[in-house]
Symmetry: C2
Subunit: 249 residues, 2 copies
Amino acid sequence: DTANALDALSQEGLSEEPVQQEKEAAGSGGSGAWEAAAGERKQQQRRRKGHRKVVDIDNDDENENDENGGAGGYERQREHPFIVTEPGEVARGKKNGLDYLFHLYEQCREFLIQVQNIAKDRGEKCPTKVTNQVFRYAKKAGASYINKPKMRHYVHCYALHCLDEEASNALRRAFKERGENVGAWRQACYKPLVTIAARQGWDIDAIFNAHPRLAIWYVPTKLRQLCHAERNSAAASSSVSGGGDDLPF
Amino acid sequence: DTANALDALSQEGLSEEPVQQEKEAAGSGGSGAWEAAAGERKQQQRRRKGHRKVVDIDNDDENENDENGGAGGYERQREHPFIVTEPGEVARGKKNGLDYLFHLYEQCREFLIQVQNIAKDRGEKCPTKVTNQVFRYAKKAGASYINKPKMRHYVHCYALHCLDEEASNALRRAFKERGENVGAWRQACYKPLVTIAARQGWDIDAIFNAHPRLAIWYVPTKLRQLCHAERNSAAASSSVSGGGDDLPF
DNA sequence: AGAAGGACCAGTGGTCCGTA
DNA sequence: AGAAGGACCAGTGGTCCGTA
């Protein structure tokens, strides 16, 4: 129902960055076995504490088939950054607008439904949330612009859009007017959600689950923490003003 | 409500087996660095395909503190095996009965409820199923006889007990009479569940979720597969006997 | 500086298989 | 042979941080 017309909202052309493999291939002067295995294996080193050394001993011919057909200087693409747009406004320049952001959540929902149908058909476990499996499926289906960190990052913004579209729209207009960046707008989305939670007994999980389009998203940790903190301080101040045991008003 | 009186159903005293650490300490003549690290690190070798070699390079003094205070020959305890008992029957000898088995599921439910209350209190994510976290909590609370492989192994038996206690009781009496072992009884529990699923549109997840005491358990993979296979062959035979497109009868 | 997302990591669901 | 459960492993939820 949120039609594919919205796809047009994404600006044509993507930002570019050199591809990882190419840089690795170009980065000459590696230091032996580990370097050679880096393309094949995951790098398990970064923040490792145990000072462990991993050595591959049958690395024979696994890395010889370069599937990308040699060093043709192609570039990895990265989505344009979001900017704060009003409802209905299309972002100009190398930017994406917030209607497009919210549209990505609808797309994920459609991918989830497809994954669910396949699972039901096969008699397999059926996910109720947007899981890693769904992100993998989306990628395989060609929606390479969908990824987990991005979707998780803005879930609460989408939640406000679902739960109080008027408030969400007003916030967008206000932040656009003030020339705020996306990060500031994103931060500002928390507060109205906490207010909504306050009105509904602080149960943010119940609020998500009661909304069909929101129920498929995990409640973001920070939103959960904010609701919890606010509930406690609200209870504390009410018990002070109430002058004794907590009363229901 | 399923009172702690049932705890008495577990035979006093447990089977014994020598403790792992002791055996490892006793097993002299290891072969160098990896052997020395085995107590500290997880053994990552078993079925490994990649022919990888893992070497620890700062193994300095991590393994020196033997917390068990030396080789006092204490024994690890293991629960008595289950035998097929009738409802109400207490197992004799070094055995446990099936009422006790089902009681363990009730205990897990109580541990889950405690974990849920703690989580709600702290404003953390609240589990709806018996997860690893719940098994850990049970162990910490002293219920060392509860463990994940055992509980998962018999979930479908408990499911039958919840969904059709009469049928479950009849099956127990029949298998006791015939002198069948627990494994045979366990296998036999699948079929009546598949029959129940057939009557309810084959949705075994919905059947579990509709029952408050069962909803907290993951549907066992094998039960899910049996329902799926049976649904498909039922659909095939009905479309044959129906002589064309599937009809609703 | 603000932002997108590859890649990591601790802890999960699932159950094998070494053990008695 | 039958059974209990430690311990493993692939893939998860969560998000950091190297990247541009």
